[in-house]
């Protein structure tokens, strides 16, 4: 299939793997963080680690939108959905995320109407078809999905739809990366930068990572060769003692981002003073709320939202996994009490969650082909 198969070419992967292996200094361990959950998914789905030498460890980052939603917000959403005449719309990934009293699926079994949508715009269709209902869109995601929520709000306003509102849980990636860089328990050598977020915000916001923290960043695409090439670019920077922001995904990511999308976000949303991230705690200026100008569409103002903070179950170590301090399988409950069918933590739910990716795709001892290849050459 064109535009897909080119990026999954095993011969090219073998060639890149050999170049990566050649750049490893003997005896040195490398820790590279892929920030985005989409990358984590690709890495496991295609068995990419098979191509990496043992000395390179990929650390899974916090860029999984579902994973960072704290339990209390899930409870708030279910509370909203159980108000009279409410139809809530949500992306499919959210449906199985456990709140303290169960997931959206469980809530639906109890009588709420939470519908899966593929695009926020579908919520408007539902709002138009059900004028006697109140449609609330459960908005989640990083800067990747925020513009589509923004455009939906702009369209709803233009149409004068009065029965549509947004429960805004959009978060921004840069404060989370900064929190990880400032966290004392982790030493990272470089970052595989989030591709889709960068289509919106561009590459400039990462410059502080290279300049102030001295870590290289390569913004990467989502096909396996994209990621392998980005690892190569990071290793090249490290071997040359450089720390710069580079753009591997230039076919999609403009250096300055997407101004139209950024304007739409600015028009409809504003920064919250602080927001709770699952596992990472409260991070200031790290999330978006509905803009004052759109107050009539802000579900948090229209409805009473309990806003009770719910602590994660004691044994759940999603926070450590999200920060990359623990590998998924090092969590105490991984695979026994916490499985995809009965997830305790969010990382086990989303296809982009590190635990789900490892459990579903990577739960085995792997043979690393790169080393075999190098040994043979």
């Amino acid at each position: 299939m064109r535009f897909v198969d080119e990026f999954r070419d095993a011969d090219k992967a073998h060639a890149l793997a050999a170049k990566i292996a050649a750049l490893c200094e003997p005896g040195r361990q490398y820790k590279l963080m892929e920030v985005c959950g989409g990358h984590t998914h690709t890495i496991y789905k295609h068995g990419l680690e098979d191509y990496l030498p043992e000395s390179i460890t990929l650390v899974h980052g916090p860029g999984c939108p579902v994973c960072v939603i704290p339990m209390g917000r899930v409870d708030d959403a279910i509370h909203l959905a159980s108000q009279p005449d409410v139809i809530m719309t949500s992306f499919g990934d959210m449906m199985r995320v456990p709140g303290s009293g169960g997931s959206f699926f469980d809530a639906n079994a109890e009588g709420t109407h939470i519908r899966m949508v593929y695009s926020p715009l579908d919520s408007l269709k539902i709002a138009r078809q059900n004028p006697d209902k109140r449609v609330v869109f459960m908005a989640i995601g990083f800067e990747t999905t925020a513009p589509s929520t923004a455009m939906t709000m702009i369209r709803a306003k233009a149409e004068g739809l009065e029965n549509f509102s947004v429960f805004c849980n959009h978060v921004t990636i840069v404060p989370a990366i900064k929190a990880i860089l400032d966290s004392p328990d982790l030493r990272l050598d470089g970052f595989i930068g989030p591709g889709h977020v960068s289509t919106v915000i561009g590459c400039r916001p990462y410059e502080f990572i290279a300049k102030q923290y001295g870590k290289p960043v390569v913004v990467a695409g989502f096909e396996p060769l994209d990621i392998l090439q980005s690892i190569y670019m990071l290793m090249l920077q490290l071997s040359q003692g450089r720390s710069e922001v580079e753009n591997q995904y230039a076919r999609v990511v403009p250096w300055d981002g997407n101004l139209v999308a950024l304007k739409a976000i600015g028009e409809t949303m504003e920064l919250r003073p602080y927001f709770e991230w699952r596992g990472l705690g409260f991070i200031s200026h790290s999330a978006l709320k509905v803009h004052e100008k759109y107050a009539a569409m802000d579900a948090e103002l229209i409805f009473q939202v309990p806003g009770v903070r719910v602590a994660d179950p004691k044994a759940c170590q999603c926070g450590e996994v999200l920060k990359g301090v623990l590998k998924p399988w090092e969590c105490k409950v991984f695979g026994t009490a916490c499985t995809p069918e009965t997830p305790i933590g969010t990382c086990m739910v989303s296809p982009e969650g590190a635990c789900a990716a490892y459990y579903n795709f990577g739960r085995m001892n792997r043979n690393r082909v790169a080393e075999a290849g190098v040994a043979g050459s």
């Binding site: 299939m1 897909v4 198969d5 999954r8 992967a13 073998h14 998914h41 496991y44 789905k45 295609h46 068995g47 990419l48 680690e49 098979d50 939108p65 579902v66 992306f91 499919g92 990934d93 449906m95 199985r96 303290s100 009293g101 699926f105 469980d106 639906n108 079994a109 109890e110 593929y118 579908d122 989640i140 995601g141 990083f142 889709h196 396996p224 060769l225 179950p313 004691k314 044994a315 590998k327 399988w329 105490k332 409950v333 695979g335 026994t336 009490a337 995809p340 069918e341 009965t342 305790i344 296809p351 982009e352 459990y359 579903n360 795709f361 739960r363 085995m364 001892n365 043979n367 082909v369």
Partner: protein
């Protein structure tokens, strides 16, 4: 669901954990610790399944892990008997000396009419196929209808007409039936249930548990056509593609395969849960490992394209006219040739092998050259959001 299940689950895992914690302090090398965790998970997965939810959710109907848990913890628990226990597509029984296969299936597809078929031919073919892959010659079907008040009679006639045509094509007769009507809003138009009986004329038992290391796994054609067709036919995705359902009766194809390779170990039709689910059933039933090769699995470009866009894996998408067969390794070429000689098996291929290593686990050699696990799905394939 209350919070208590979390505590219960935690307590359970603590039990199996003490040994590890003690050893963990000695800080075993990373790879050994990982292996220990893998072993522990393996033990946890072999535990008796338990339904934790207080109510049925949509996941219980999706054909993945939740469905399997529900079947084993509720239905098998209640009805347990040696004929049911193998959980094959059809039960094999002996009645007054005659070997009979019996199966039943309910159809709730939405929309009722879709490119390549409708609920009617699906209801006939699905039951015919369940009988065929269990080695029986399908003979007679029953048909039960649950109709919603207000359902157009013309639509009902369309459904029954395609059932008639499908039965004729498969060489079976619908010999008994039932009709129920429920108030508007209590059902979605029309649900159909069919049961079928067939006669087992060949010697040699079939069953997923008979798979052995060295066996080849064969699929009879491109996978995922039906599921993707239905998803697109719902019109919610604004994607159009030129594909139609593969719904078809497989009894002719099965007969050709069994004539050419009498030693076939097992067959399944790849419906809900797709080929991935069948490979897992084989690995589990026979306690063997399965290694599939992504490049070898036939998938139409349209199906692959739609799956990529939706973030789902065609291996989990339903077919309604494809079978997966386990055959002795030395018979693989003959099996593929026999399937390809039939119009419904033109793109048959060997997609993998059974092996002794990693029993219970299905591994996939990806087109990219890596390896990964192919597990049972928990629920419906959920689309990724970014």
């Amino acid at each position: 669901m209350s919070k208590s299940w979390i505590d219960e689950a935690l307590a359970q895992s603590e039990l199996g954990h003490e040994g590890l914690a003690a050893e963990g302090r000695r800080q075993l090398p990373l790879a050994d610790r990982e292996q220990q965790v893998l072993d522990r998970i393996d033990r946890a997965r072999r535990r008796r399944p338990k339904v934790r939810e207080e109510r049925v959710t949509m996941s219980h109907g999706a054909g993945g892990k939740a469905t399997q848990t529900l079947i084993e913890a509720v239905f098998l628990d209640a009805f347990r008997n040696p004929l049911l226990e193998p959980l094959e597509d059809a039960a094999q029984l002996t009645v007054s000396g005659a070997r009979i296969a019996l199966t039943t299936d309910s159809y709730v597809v939405s929309p009722l009419f879709f490119p390549g078929g409708d609920i009617g031919d699906l209801a006939v073919n699905g039951t015919v196929n369940d009988l065929a892959v269990s080695g029986a010659r399908p003979l007679y079907l029953s048909a039960g209808f649950i109709l919603e008040e207000g359902f157009p009679v013309a639509d009902l006639q369309r459904v029954t007409e395609s059932m008639r045509a499908a039965a004729e094509r498969a060489g079976v007769s619908v010999v008994t039936g039932d009709t129920k009507v429920v108030q508007k809003g209590k059902a979605d138009g029309c649900y159909v249930n069919t049961a079928g009986v067939g006669v087992v004329e060949r010697d040699g038992a079939l069953g997923a548990a008979r798979a052995q290391p060295g066996d080849a796994i064969v699929v009879s054609g491109p996978i995922g056509d039906h599921g993707i067709t239905i998803m697109l036919a719902r019109g919610e995705l604004d994607i159009e593609a030129d594909i139609c359902s593969d719904t078809a009766p497989l009894n002719g194809l099965v007969a050709d395969l069994l004539d050419a390779v009498p030693g076939v170990r097992a067959m399944r039709d790849a419906t809900r849960g797709g080929v991935a689910t069948i490979l897992n059933e084989i690995a589990r039933a026979a306690d063997v490992g399965v290694l599939a090769v992504e490049d070898a699995i036939p998938v139409r470009a349209e199906v692959r394209g739609a799956s990529e866009l939706l973030g789902i894996d065609p291996m989990y998408v339903a077919c309604e006219g494809r079978l997966v067969a386990v055959v002795p390794g030395e018979d693989a070429d003959r099996a593929v040739a026999a399937l390809r000689a039939h119009p419904l098996g033109e793109r048959a291929a060997v997609i993998g092998h059974v092996r002794a290593e990693q029993p219970g686990i299905v591994q996939l050699k990806t087109a990219f050259g890596g390896t990964r696990i192919v597990d049972l799905l928990v629920g419906d394939p959920l689309p990724r959001i970014c």
